[in-house]
Point group: C2
Chain length 392, copies 2
């Protein structure tokens, strides 16, 4: 185990950075921002501030409120993280100074958000009161308020400076188009898309908006290149099924693998990854795995999938080889692996091990552990390279 | 036309930045680096230093030698550009200070290069003497020298900290693997891959290395997930053909569009874009266009292709709608449009208009011109978001 050797190096790295600390008005030691990131410390309401090149922590950033189930997006220049807290707080964090640049309490209860294609607007999805709020990404001033009369989930950016989101209580998907007057987004509404959409994703090219359904089996698929065609239902057997299997955690749909026309998504309640033919939106097979998948994430090269699991298999990570559709590696980093994030070009993957109070970094080719970093009950890990991608 | 209005704003932007200039030891005004870029001024041996958010120039960076046919790659942190000059110069440019951080004359005549997946190594492809040199990306110290006895073209990064390149004089493709000992790259050589490979590309997922052939029709395709299968020949009718059509400029293969299993590549000598089914590597159709295509570049969302042309149609740009495979827009920015580069998430595209001595920026949705910037006979445009992608 390499952890004991790594810790002194980490402490030194933090110390040497502190001595070079930037002043709050914006001058300081210069550095690029393409290799930065954060890991959420949910209990403390703080972030670990990460350097993905040196695989070190640059320090802790505190004062972000309730970060249970928090997520983050990044500014177009990769300098700022926008963190959506469960308590409705929206915090703009400066990754060059390790400080909070701005913070607003934008609602009573938030579930996530997105940044527009051009980087000018932040959209937050809210439970209480239900709706979407649009903020200026520079000032965090409110630009537009879109009440929905429903909890909003699955808020994603879509090309054309649009946002897509789903209404849990109304079984609807809405598209808000900010390409005209951002203060008055043009809304397109799709009704009866399926019962209780609980999460959604956008394909890596930004074309397909797909919502998972909690209230029934199947998924809702919207082709954002052709809104006139409406929302289609697909995968009628995908979901909890007739037998109402015990589902320990509904899987996240945030990320999927696409190789040619195939997508790989977590099974619900089943110990399997589901293969979907996206040309026809039909099931093309399943891959047996060690538990109920939570995230099925593709390496940036699409060659392997990394899968974590719900209780009781939440100490385990499995790696699937895409060409052969087989599990090629199983490891048990500890209780509980909550999230995974790849280096921008995928040579390494970072895992959060919640009860182990640490982040672990692995070489994706050899599965060798490269680093361990202390972190307080870490959950989500987010790197600045997301700024340049759709739906992240 | 908006150019007259834009110029004063540009001058002001340059002035205000200059007053905040960084000191050379690395302190200065803080800024993110995810929205920076460069445009090559080939005659002057200089770069325009670009801000893609404000759509302005931050100044000119001089002293890079012979930049005819120059290209660039970016450091993992998106702070530095590595510019490969035709005279064999390799220049590391600091995009936070607008200065040259390091410069080495690494050969007599270079044609381009790449940066390794992990960002630690720069590889330069050389004509004179023929071979590849590997440099430390921090110091530019030589790490490895790979003589080939041939001009080297199509040097591309491949996942697994590998580089692929082609030997013009020997009809070979080599893979250099730096994942073990970088000072002694492990070489895999493929012979008789086709006559006179003249350019190559790597697919966006990093899997396929494809070389175009000058000496005969067809292309050479290598599946880097399965090197044992060797190089396959494909598209037997792709090339100059029996009739030896006049070819004003061999097309670049650097970038292609993939939608599902389709790729779109420039025809050789013909006024057409060729559609390729990458599941079988066979031709699936052609799209007629205004001239001999040079670059066929996909928007990051894959929905449209932007095409520029060889003489005598080099004043023209056409836009193809991917779903309908039809030209939907034609414009004539001026003589001669040499290169195009998309904003990271594709809301804008930048064009270099060589004889017009300007860069132009267009909204990709509306085709509205957003900005014009003066530049001295500009050619290649390169943005830092390339740091996070394969084969760019």
């Amino acid at each position: 185990m390499t952890s004991n050797k790594l810790l002194p190096a980490l402490a030194l790295a933090i110390l040497s950075f502190t001595t070079l600390a930037a002043d709050p008005v914006g001058n300081g030691p210069l550095r690029g921002t393409g290799d930065l990131g954060i890991a959420v410390e949910r209990a403390k309401g703080s972030l670990q501030w990460l350097d993905t090149t040196k695989m070190t922590s640059l320090g802790r950033i505190e004062g972000l409120g309730d970060l249970s189930h928090a997520s983050a997006v990044f500014s177009r220049d990769e300098r700022y993280a926008y963190v959506f807290g469960r308590d409705g707080g929206l915090t703009k964090v400066d990754l060059l100074t390790g400080t909070i640049a701005r913070r607003v309490m934008q609602s009573g209860n938030s579930i996530g958000g997105a940044i527009s294609q051009d980087g000018r607007f932040i959209a937050a999805a809210n439970y209480t009161p239900g709706g979407v709020k649009i903020f200026d990404s520079d000032s965090l001033d409110l630009v537009a308020d879109i009440p929905t009369g429903s909890k909003v989930i699955g808020l994603e950016d879509i090309p054309g400076n649009r946002f897509g989101f789903s209404l849990w209580d109304k079984d609807e998907i809405w598209i808000a188009d900010l390409s005209g007057d951002p203060k008055n987004p043009r809304l397109t509404k799709f009704t009866n898309i399926g019962h209780q959409p609980y999460d959604a994703l956008v394909s890596p090219d930004g074309r397909w908006y797909v919502a998972g359904l909690y209230g029934e089996d199947g998924i809702a698929v919207l082709d954002t290149w052709n809104l006139e065609a409406g929302v289609k239902r697909a995968l009628p057997d995908y979901g909890r099924g007739e037998e109402k299997l015990p589902v320990y955690k509904m899987p996240h749909l945030e990320t999927w693998a696409m190789v040619g026309n195939l997508a790989f998504i977590p099974g619900v309640g089943h110990h399997e990854v589901v293969i979907v033919d996206t040309a026809t939106w039909t099931q093309a097979g399943v891959i047996p795995v060690a538990g109920q998948p939570v995230f099925v994430m593709a390496q940036p090269d699409g060659r392997r999938l990394w899968v974590n699991f719900a209780f009781p298999n939440y100490d385990t990570v499995q790696v699937i080889d895409v060409p052969s559709q087989r599990v090629v590696h199983t490891m048990k980093p500890g209780v509980a692996v909550l999230h995974m994030e790849f280096a921008p070009r995928g040579e390494a993957v970072w895992l959060s091990v919640r009860d182990g109070n640490r982040l672990e970094v692995y070489d994706t080719a050899s599965f060798r552990k490269l680093a361990e970093l202390p972190a307080d009950a870490p959950s989500g890990i987010f790197f600045t390279a997301r700024a340049h991608r759709f739906g992240l």
